[in-house]
Amino acid sequence: MLATSTTKVLSAALWCAAAPPASRGAEADADPQSAEDGSRYRTVVRAPSRRGAAARSPGFVSVIPLDDPKSATPRDGLAEVLSRAPGVHVRSLGGLGQFGAVSIRGSAPQQVAIFLDGVPVSGSMAGLVDLADLPLDGISRLEVHRGWIPIAYGAAAMGGALDLVSTPSDAPAAVRAEAGAGSWWTRQAAAEIRGRTRRVGWAARASYAGSTGAFSYYDDRGTRLSGDDGLARRSGNGYDRVLAQLRLSARRGRWRIGAHQLAVGKRAGVPGPGSAQAQAAGNDQLMSRSIVRLRHDGGARPGTRLEWLAGVGVEARRFRDPRAELGVGRDDQRALTLDVYLSPRLRVPLWHQAWLGVVADGRGERIAIDQRVQRPDGSPTGDAVRSRAAIGAGIELEQFAWAGRLQLVPALRVDGVASRFAVPAGRGEQDDRGRNRSFVAVSPRLGLRVSVVPPLSLRGSIGRYFRAPTLVELFGDRGFFVGNEGLVPERGVVADGGATLEHDGRHGGVFGHLAGFWIRSRDLIQWIAAGTVARPENVAAARVRGFESALGVRAPDDRLEVSLNYTWLDAVDRSGDPGRDGHALPGRPRHDLFARAAFGWRFHPRGVAVEPRLVYTAELVARTFLDPSGRYVLPPRALQAVGLQAWIDARVLLGLEVRNLLDVRTATVVLPVGDRQPSPVAIADFIGYPLPGRSVWAHVRVEFELGGSRRKGRRRS
């Protein structure tokens, strides 16, 4: 049910040029020595460096590749993929296609700004993006920005920003087909074709994914005594999704244009808590998003770049709860959302080794709610039309020195948000006092990077952030989420510092970082579970501090890869409220350890290249409180996975993966109450919402490149 509420307005469409938002695209060329020749932008487009953003930002950026031809990532595996990054924690309601929310460095999910090729998908209406609504189809990599957040990512990214960067459509012409199947009738199928001429590239993709989500879990029947406990099977947890995608790119002279059209239809069950499962509740979604990026390189001064980024999103969503299994009464709510985004961005060289980036963006959102279940006792109809307009502008100066070894980036962003939330009497939600409000906020930032010795850089940043409450936070959704119209914008100061290590060469590579961070939030908006509903509150203050570390080692030819991430987090309620102050913020593990090892080799039976690879991952989280009063602490939880895949003749991939290898399904919780009797409960990220046990996923992918040069590059890979 969270899925309803977290109703994201969006999803996406991407452009093909594989560029991060303009200001970062610029930063990608920040090497002052190459900056003068004007060729750096082409470098970005043609051969985007997977770790480029990480290397050139004064912040801490993790780049997670998704289009590795040798690996198979489930198309609905964004939550799983994200959890590999240091400082990132994902909470799930359980099962593929079900609600998942991301937290970076202890942030609330709403404080993580999510983008698709630079276009925001974190709607002002819902704020909270359900990761399950962001399929990985056509995505080449994820960029996780922490600490220093480029001004193009807005003012609300107190925790960080996540950018899903699409696969370039000017990649070599090819045909790809893939299919997968796994536990609980999970199935996926996709086909993609890419073509290109000298100036135009295009790609079309269609996919289907679905699952029953009917995993078995430990059901305590909502009671403490274990007499009636046992295994139950999840119901109402399935989904089906179809997706169509078209990507185009073209270039002429110094002009480039990229366009992406994405359409998604999804029908998903909303299962409710494990002890009281829903059968008939569901969430239907039909979404279209168009993104166009127009860019001009060069101009009067070498290194100048002008870019326009535009996005239009339309989404129709229906939440249905015909038996009132989830919340307050029966529900049949239709929502139609329009989201328009436009952002001009300019980057010009100023003086020696200095660039000025200017970003402006405007966004308009309109949501029309049509509540079909009427109450006959004079209650409001539930219908409402609300809108929000946001404009922002930022300026960012990048000053390099010492042959690029020093980078100083002061930036300033100003945002204005005007909400038109008032509805006529008799409409809207119960006790609806929607008001038209406006906020203006200034968010200055400063980032610094110093390359001490070539592979080692020191980085630090400090900035102020601001986020206005969303529509769902203010008004709820008549379901799981109950609104709070008294919310005020949350504000915060974020500071971090640390070092990164990045070395990649013929003999292998070493990557890693160690960073400390500190976040002080005022009026933090926090969703608090309230029995069968959740409501947002302005926690008067919260302090988050911690450190994150990552180390990765890659042997030559990728034969062995090992990565290890560890995050220590101290997220504390500083509201001053008795019973909460000093306690951990819910849902943030104190310790989060992730390890991954991959071992592969290559041989040539009968002249065919075969490259098997064995992958093992483990995630350990400990000291996670799920309540605001510091009573419900989960015991340490370790989930492991092992996978075997084979890359054959550079065109066929076979994969088999077993997740939650040890079939961990229960944990023991001891509440500091009464006799302190240990109670077995299902493993969960949210109280009462079980996570699946062991599952199996098998995958096959076949790709044929079209044209003469087709296998040369693949062979090399």
Partner: protein, 393 residues
């Protein structure tokens, strides 16, 4: 928070499911000729403690308050986030409502240790949603269920209860479910407050107090000449809380909080206003569901009421004279609180009120002996914020 406070009771009132609960013929007998012989068991006489359920809406617990010493023993037992306390024959009960659907039994003699858990299940509902429990003279319990048109049998001694549920379908309701809520017993006769809610919680008719033969296992009809079994219709909307009327020595009169305070004379089968809604409306307490909880003094002349503000942004405490007693217009004597369920109890000359107000959650005390109720210090901490409470021996 404030919106939530008044919304929260709604989840405790789940509308009927689509599943059929209409098997078998509908039975009802005439109430006429059946006299009340035993006093109604609505409240405990001479309480010495308060049994308080607490919650932060993530977890729940139980606290016990010693009224003589004003001390709180916190976290004596675990509860759910929607547990309503009750008491019967030396046992503390927790009615775990929407989606918990169980009754927990705690043993006060063993420090309120867990003594039993009883699931409230029905074939025709995924969430029966227990609301209240009454006991017949033989000690058999009967649980009202908002989502199921029966009284479910409850045996504290065993889970193996062979008794059949008592069918409430005789009470007419458009959707077939009378939405049973509050209940009490007067010897073998039970009284169940039924609501008239449509599947989307819309109120489509007046609440009624329906008599049930707990021993015979059937609804008793006040007016057999009319179609369907008839209860005693409430004068106001939404029966929120019931109290014994101290002015009736026989214990056959009930005071009920709705949009006012109304008096059910069970012997006579009449309903009248003790405090008319207009008197509350005169002080901006006239909206539906604004009145939240109440109690009356030992003389039955003065009522203390917890009520939401019009926008449900806060809860304030009032006192008002019943019938012709002063004050005729409700007087506010404390405000700025929050509360969710029934957390107001008057014992002797002390008023206890549990507030969830974020900056000062706990149990407030007021000395009501004087002309004006006086707060007695800071609130007592109950561990988690108080959710619902009942006075116990």
């Amino acid at each position: 928070m404030r919106r939530l406070l008044w919304l929260l009771p709604l989840p405790a009132c789940a509308p009927p499911s689509d599943a059929a609960c209409d098997e078998g013929p509908v039975r009802a007998a005439a109430l006429e000729g059946i006299a009340l012989e035993q006093p109604c068991a609505i409240e405990i006489a001479a309480p010495t403690r308060l049994l308080v359920t607490t919650t932060d809406f993530a977890t729940g617990a139980v606290a016990v308050v010693d009224l003589a010493t004003a001390t709180v023993t916190r976290d004596v037992a675990a509860a759910t986030t929607d547990s309503i306390p009750a008491w019967h024959d030396g046992a503390a009960l927790l009615l775990n409502r929407y989606q918990y659907d169980s009754v927990t039994v705690l043993d006060p003699d063993r420090g309120f240790a867990l003594a039993g858990e009883h699931a409230v299940a029905a074939a025709c509902s995924d969430a029966p949603n227990p609301q209240a429990v009454v006991f017949d003279p033989d000690g058999h319990g009967w649980v009202t269920q908002l989502d199921v048109p029966t009284l479910a049998p409850l045996s504290l001694a065993s889970d193996d209860d062979a008794r059949e549920p008592i069918d409430l379908r005789a009470v007419p309701d458009a959707d077939g479910n009378p939405d049973a809520g509050l209940a009490f017993a007067c010897g073998p006769l039970g009284f169940v407050a039924v609501q008239r809610l449509d599947p989307s919680y819309g109120r489509v008719g007046p609440d009624e107090l329906v008599a049930v033969d707990l021993v015979g296992g059937q609804v008793l009809d006040r007016d057999p000449d009319r179609a369907g079994a008839q209860g005693l219709p409430a004068a106001g909307a939404w029966l929120r809380q019931l109290r014994a009327d101290p002015t009736d020595a026989h214990g056959h009169t009930v005071l009920a909080l709705s949009t006012g305070i109304e008096r059910f004379a069970l012997d006579a089968g009449t309903v009248s206003w003790a405090v008319a809604p207009e008197r509350f409306a005169a002080v901006a307490l006239g909206g539906p569901r604004q009145l939240q909880a109440f109690d009356v003094d030992d003389t039955g002349t003065l009522a203390y009421v917890a009520a939401y503000a019009e926008d449900f942004s806060a809860v304030s405490l009032w006192r008002v004279g019943l019938d012709d007693a002063a004050p005729q217009q409700p007087e506010r004597f404390a405000d700025g609180f929050d509360s969710v369920e029934h957390t107001l109890e008057l014992v002797d000359q002390r008023l206890w009120y549990g507030s969830t107000r974020r900056d000062a959650p706990g149990l407030w005390q007021f000395d009501v002996a004087g002309a004006v109720p006086e707060p007695l210090g800071d609130p007592l901490s109950t561990g988690l914020p108080p959710y619902s409470m009942v006075a116990i021996p």
